[in-house]
Symmetry: none
Subunit: 402 residues, 2 copies
Amino acid sequence: MASHLIDELCVETESKIVFLILDGLGGLQMGEHPVTELEAANTPNMDKLVAGNTCGALIPVEPGVTPGSGPGHFGLFGYDPVDANIGRGVLSAAGLEFELTERDVAARVNLATLDADGNIKDRRAGRIATEENERICEKLRKHIHLSDGVEFFLKTEKEHRALFVLRGDGLGGDLEDTDPQQVGVPTLDPKGADAASEKTAKYVRDFLQQARKVLSDEPQANFLMLRGFAKHRRYKTLNERFKLKTYAIANYPMYRGISRLVGMEIAPVSQNLSTQIDELERTWDKYTFFFMHVKTTDATGEDGNYAGKVKAIEDVDALVPRILARKPDVLVITGDHSTPSAMRSHSWHPIPILLAAKNVRRDRVMAFNENNCLQGGLGIFQSQHLMNYALAHAGKLIKFGA
Amino acid sequence: MASHLIDELCVETESKIVFLILDGLGGLQMGEHPVTELEAANTPNMDKLVAGNTCGALIPVEPGVTPGSGPGHFGLFGYDPVDANIGRGVLSAAGLEFELTERDVAARVNLATLDADGNIKDRRAGRIATEENERICEKLRKHIHLSDGVEFFLKTEKEHRALFVLRGDGLGGDLEDTDPQQVGVPTLDPKGADAASEKTAKYVRDFLQQARKVLSDEPQANFLMLRGFAKHRRYKTLNERFKLKTYAIANYPMYRGISRLVGMEIAPVSQNLSTQIDELERTWDKYTFFFMHVKTTDATGEDGNYAGKVKAIEDVDALVPRILARKPDVLVITGDHSTPSAMRSHSWHPIPILLAAKNVRRDRVMAFNENNCLQGGLGIFQSQHLMNYALAHAGKLIKFGA
C-alpha cells in the first residue's frame, strides 16, 4: 500500500472528530423536481453550520467512476480506494462479521441447481429460503473433509448466498470464479493464477467434488458456485495510521465490516440515528474518532423515492444539534457516493461535504447542497484526501518540513 | 503505459458519444476587447445547451503547460498526454498517413544547404518548392541502397520538410538529432543512446554518407538533417480500451493521423463543418463515438485574428442544432488547448467544456465561456479525465467494487 505523507505527521491528541456519513447523499434533479433532493430538503441546522464553516465536493474514486460501498468508504477513511479495493469474498466476510486470518481465502457462494446432465439450470437454486440455505451449509460442513489439515468454513448469508472460507498455509487468493454467469453450461473448474493460488484451487476442487456427492439428493440446491475469491488482507488501521481511537456507530453489516477492516471498534447494532447518537453520547469520552453511518438516504435513492430521500435528509438534519451539543472539534457531514433517486443507483456525481471546526477559513456558501458546495473553500477533491482536512482541523497534524 | 481503472469498467453499449472539438477554443481578452473571443461570440445554441447541462474547464496536460496538437488530443481521448507523447517523426508519419510497422523508426527531414566547407549555410535549403523536394526525394530513393535488408522510405511533406523512415529488425529509436539548430557548423553525426539505437545510427550514418554524394551536385538542397527520431509505438486503441466503435471526422492530416494512432476509422476529407455533419448523419448508425474536429478556431487564433475567431465560433454554434437533432447520448463541446488571438499561439490556459447528457447534474452556468465554465459542476480538471465523464454519462461504465 502506498505510504501517505499525513501518516508521518500525525500526533495523538484528545480532540474529537465526528464523521456523519449520509450514505448516497448526492442527488440529481428529477423529472418535475428542478432541484436535487438535498436542495429540496429543509435543512436549517446544516445550513446554519455551513454558513459559519467551509464546504466542498468529493469525488469518491476518480472522475466518472461510480463506487460500491467498499471503495466509497475506504476513500472517506483516507485510503486510496483503488489500492485498498478487495474481493467480494473478503467484503462478504467482513459484512458477516467473520474474522478472517492471514491463512484465509474467502469467496462468495451461490447455491445453484444443476440439471441431470450437470449443466446449470438455476444460478440461484430457485432463491431458496434462508433456512434451507442453513440446512445445506450444515450438511456440507458435516460431510466434507479436506486433507493436509486445510479447513473450510461456510456461513449462510441470505437466500441462495453464503460465504466460503478456506484456511490453510500458503494459500493464494488469485482464482477465477467457478460461476460461468450463464445457464445451460457446466460450472467452471477452479483455476489459480499462480502456484499459491493453484494450491488453493486444488483444495477447492476437492471441496466441490465432495459437495457434488453430498448434495446429489437435493431437489433445489444440488451444487454451489464460488466467485470473488480474495485472500485476507491486513490493512494498516486508522489507529495505527492516524493515532486515533476509533468507534463505528453503524448498523448495516457491510459498513460494520469495512469499519472492522480498518481497525475500528464497533458499537452494538442500534435502532436508528437517534439511538446511534445516544451511543455517541454514552461513549464520547472514550474515543477520538466517531464514524456515524446513516443508511436511509441511500435506500430511498435506490428506490427512486425522491420525496423519501428528502425526508431522510430532513430527519438527519433535525438530529444534528444533538451532535453539536457534544462540541466535536471537527464535524464532517458528507456521503460515500451519490445515489440520485433519478437513477435508482449509486452514481459518479460529486458529493457535497461540510466541514465544521474551529480553524476553518469560512467561505461564502450559505446553504448545504450540491451546487452551493461547488463554490466552497475546499473545492472539488478526492475523498481520500478528506481525512487530511479532518486531522488538520482537529490539530492532529504537525508541520511538514522545516 | 499506465493501466487505467476505467478501462476495466467499460461495457459495450449502443449509446452514442460525440466530441465536437474546436481546436484552440480557449482565448484571452485582447487590447480593446475586454472579453475573450468566446465571450464576445453570439452563441445562442451552445448557451442554451449549457443552461440545461453541466460544464467545467480542462487543463490539457498540467498547470501551465502549453500542449502541441498531439498531447492536446491524446488527453481528450483519455490517454495520459505525457506518457502517450511521441516523437515528431511518428507524428509526421501519422499526419502523412504513412502506416508505420513495429520494425520502423521515423524522423523528420529538413533539406539543407551546406557551404563548400561542409558547414550549414541554410537550414531550410532556401525553403525550396515542394516539387523540388519531391524530385530530391526521388533521387535519393533511386541511388541509395542500405545493407542487411534494411529499407528506408522518404516522403515529401512540404517545402523543405519530409519524412524519413528506416525499417529493419531490432532498430532502436532513441537517437539524437543530426540538426545542430544553427548555421556555420557541420551537421551532427547520428548517435544512439543504447545498443538498438546505435544499430539504427549505423544505417542512418550509411544513408547520410550516400546522400551527401548523391546530392553533391545540387545547388540548394545538397544535404539533409534528421530530427525527432522515434520508434513506432502501438497504442491500445479506443476500441480496445473503451469498447467503442470510433469514427474521426477530421480534415487535417495531423488530426487524422492521431485518430488513426488510437484506432479510429477515418472519414474521407470533407469540405467544412457542414459537410462533416453530413458525414456524421450518414454514418450515425454505424459508430458509438464520433470525433468532429474544427480547425478554423485555432487557425484564426494563430493569425491573431480576434474577429475571425469570434466568427469561427459563431459559425460552429449555428451548426450545433444539426448535431443535437441526431440525439447523441453525450455531446461534449470543448477544445484541445487554448489559442488566444492575443498570443498568436497555443497556450496553457484552461479550455471551457460543455457536457450535455441525460444524467448530468445541472449546474448554474447559463452561457458558454471561459469564466462562466469555471463555476461549472465539473470543476477544473485534466483533459485525460474527460473520457471518464463521457463514458459515465453514456452509461458505459459499471460500478467499481462491491
